[in-house]
């Protein structure tokens, strides 16, 4: 299959990755090659087969609803690109 430029744009948006317009075609072509690998799945007879999410068919372990983590804000914010007064700074969102 071959992805259209509009589909590549949509995928880039879903992935939250900026793609330069000049790259649309090349990116689309490489993605299409990968999607061709998927096509093999269509041939598999999976009627009556349950989807498998965990190799040992285990379900998520539950625990008591208790606080288990200490507050380590200072330590974690040392490596942040931009902080102020304990907050993470990003460009203005609302004018």
């Amino acid at each position: 299959m071959s992805l259209q430029v509009s589909e590549v744009k949509k995928i880039a948006q879903l992935a939250a990755i900026a793609v330069e317009p000049a790259e649309f075609e090349v990116v689309g072509k490489k993605l299409s090659n990968i999607l061709d690998v998927f096509a093999q799945l269509e041939k598999a007879d999976t009627s009556g087969i349950e989807p498998m999410a965990h190799p040992l068919d285990q379900t998520q372990r539950l625990r008591d609803d208790l606080v288990t983590e200490d507050n380590q804000r200072e330590k974690f914010q040392v490596i942040a690109p931009s902080t102020e007064a304990g907050l993470y700074l990003v460009p203005q969102v609302i004018e």
Partner: protein, 489 residues
């Protein structure tokens, strides 16, 4: 010294014939001398290593040290290491100093194994050659024109070159076993959930599994003893019975039923590799093992299913890298969306971006049933094939990879050809089974690994078979000539 086993190093340390500081200096010197050529390390941590070695020596002197205490090691750069850069091979995390330890790091720190540094890898563990690392490709010590395999290529090359006796690795689609095969070392991926994923940077969580990479099966058994443990902080960590993986290494394998799937020796397998694997199987037959024909009829669907499921999980896992809390942030973001999309475009490499986009597509409205759900069903078919096969055999043997190590640059322009090289390792990850690669010979002077796959929780049996094989062969003891003589390949 660098050719000694973990057991031998342990004996030297325990009997005080050598100190951990001396041993650590020895390996740091080797890294200094040889790694400029190999590029197997992203970060070297001499201060941390020597500081840990001193603590180890104090415990050894007091006579209450663990058998692994004082033996230097390295971590794949995917394991968060408190206070040390943890890059995952990516520009995105080039400035990331981990604020905590992964569980595996905690476990081995508790045994005072000096950390020499962090090893190179494919970016976010996505690759089979270590060429997608932001820090440049690692070279194969056996042939500097060849890739070391991936994604744990740095760990494999470092062990093969004798720069470290043991390094940690992770295996999502073959990332421990394939580089172990390409570099002529031994590496085991245990049952999914056996080793904690806490602090191991996520790629595809339902497949990701850590494990040791070392010279022999026996070394791996010693390390697995220290690494397999239930961890409350990993939601898929398994509560397993405590097993001493070294206890059964010397059991005789007479009567062992070896499953040999016809599918493993079909189209695409290099005939020379097939010859090496058949010789290895014959060696085990001589020890009394019996061959059983088994079938894995859905094996050929595994690569397709994996490249739907793993990227889908990756697209979700890697959404955390947004340039806000840590990691790379683009210059002069115009608005919040620009900050997100440009930080990700500039911070991730081409292959990582491709997999995130493929995953986002597979999960998107209108395609979910056709791709994601279908792939999950195929995953069960692949798993059920193994379950059925193990009704008539104890282990399955075959090749790890269809060829020996390929050349640097050979597959970088064609991602799909790189994917297909993992056709023997991927089904095992879909099923979550334990599996191992051990050196079994050479083709064109490049190592070839024998693949041992067992039922769930059969790590001790796999290690036993591998160890018995290594009692009658010496492939795992061989080292590249130029490394020994210091001369260039």
């Amino acid at each position: 010294m660098h050719n000694l086993s973990i057991k031998e190093l342990s004996a030297l340390l325990q009997s005080k014939k050598i100190s951990s500081v001396e041993l650590t200096r020895y390996f740091l010197d080797r890294i200094q001398k040889l790694d400029a050529e190999l590029n197997s390390f992203v970060t070297i941590t001499p201060e941390l290593a020597l500081q840990m070695a001193e603590v180890a020596d104090a415990k050894l002197a007091a006579g209450n040290a663990h058998p692994l205490t004082g033996i230097p090691m390295a971590h794949k750069d995917i394991f968060c290491t408190d206070g040390v850069k943890t890059s995952c091979g990516s520009k995105m995390l080039d400035n990331f100093i981990a604020p905590y330890d992964a569980h595996v790091v905690t476990q081995l720190k508790a045994l005072d194994m000096p950390i020499l540094g962090k090893t190179n890898m494919d970016e976010f563990a996505m690759g089979s050659s270590t060429e997608s690392s932001y820090y440049g490709a690692t070279k194969n010590p056996w042939d500097l024109k060849a890739v070391p395999g991936g994604s744990s290529g740095g760990s494999a090359a470092a062990v093969a070159a004798g720069l470290v006796p043991f390094a940690s690795g992770t295996d999502t689609g073959g990332s421990i076993r394939q580089p172990a095969s390409f570099c002529g070392i031994s590496g085991i991926k245990p049952t999914y959930g056996a080793i904690s994923r806490f602090g191991m940077i996520s790629y595809a969580s339902s497949f990701d599994q850590g494990g040791p990479m070392a010279r022999s099966a026996e070394d791996n058994a010693w390390l697995l003893n220290a690494m397999v443990d239930f961890d409350e902080r990993d939601s898929t960590s398994l509560k397993m019975d405590k097993v001493d993986y070294t206890a059964s290494l010397n059991d005789a394998i007479k009567g062992l039923r070896i499953g040999v799937p016809a599918e493993y020796f079909g189209e695409g397998l290099d005939p020379e590799v097939a010859k090496v694997i058949k010789q290895a199987i014959a060696e085990l037959e001589k020890q009394g093992a019996e061959l059983v024909e088994v079938h894995l009829p859905n094996q050929h669907l595994a690569v397709s299913a994996y490249y739907v499921l793993a990227p889908a999980e990756a697209s979700s896992n890697l959404s955390r890298f947004d340039g806000v809390r840590y990691g790379y942030r683009c210059e002069n973001p115009q608005d919040l969306n620009d900050l997100y999309t440009r930080s990700r475009a500039e911070g991730f490499g081409a292959e990582v971006k491709r997999r995130i986009m493929v995953g986002a597509y597979a999960l998107s409205a209108g395609y979910y049933d056709a791709y994601y759900l279908k792939a999950q069903k195929v995953r069960r078919l692949v798993r059920d094939d193994f379950t059925k096969a193990f009704e008539s055999c104890d282990v399955i043997l075959g090749p790890v990879a269809p060829t020996p190590a390929f050349n640097l640059g050979e597959k970088t322009d064609d991602p799909v050809s790189m994917y297909l090289a993992d056709l023997y390792t991927i089904p095992v990850n879909l099923a979550g089974l334990p599996a191992m690669s051990v050196p079994a010979g050479f083709v064109n002077e490049r190592p070839v690994g024998l693949h041992l796959v067992g039922p769930y929780f059969s790590e001790a049996k796999i290690l036993n078979v591998a160890h018995q094989y290594q009692q009658v062969t010496d492939w795992h003891k061989q080292t590249p000539e130029w490394i020994e003589g210091g001369r260039q390949a």
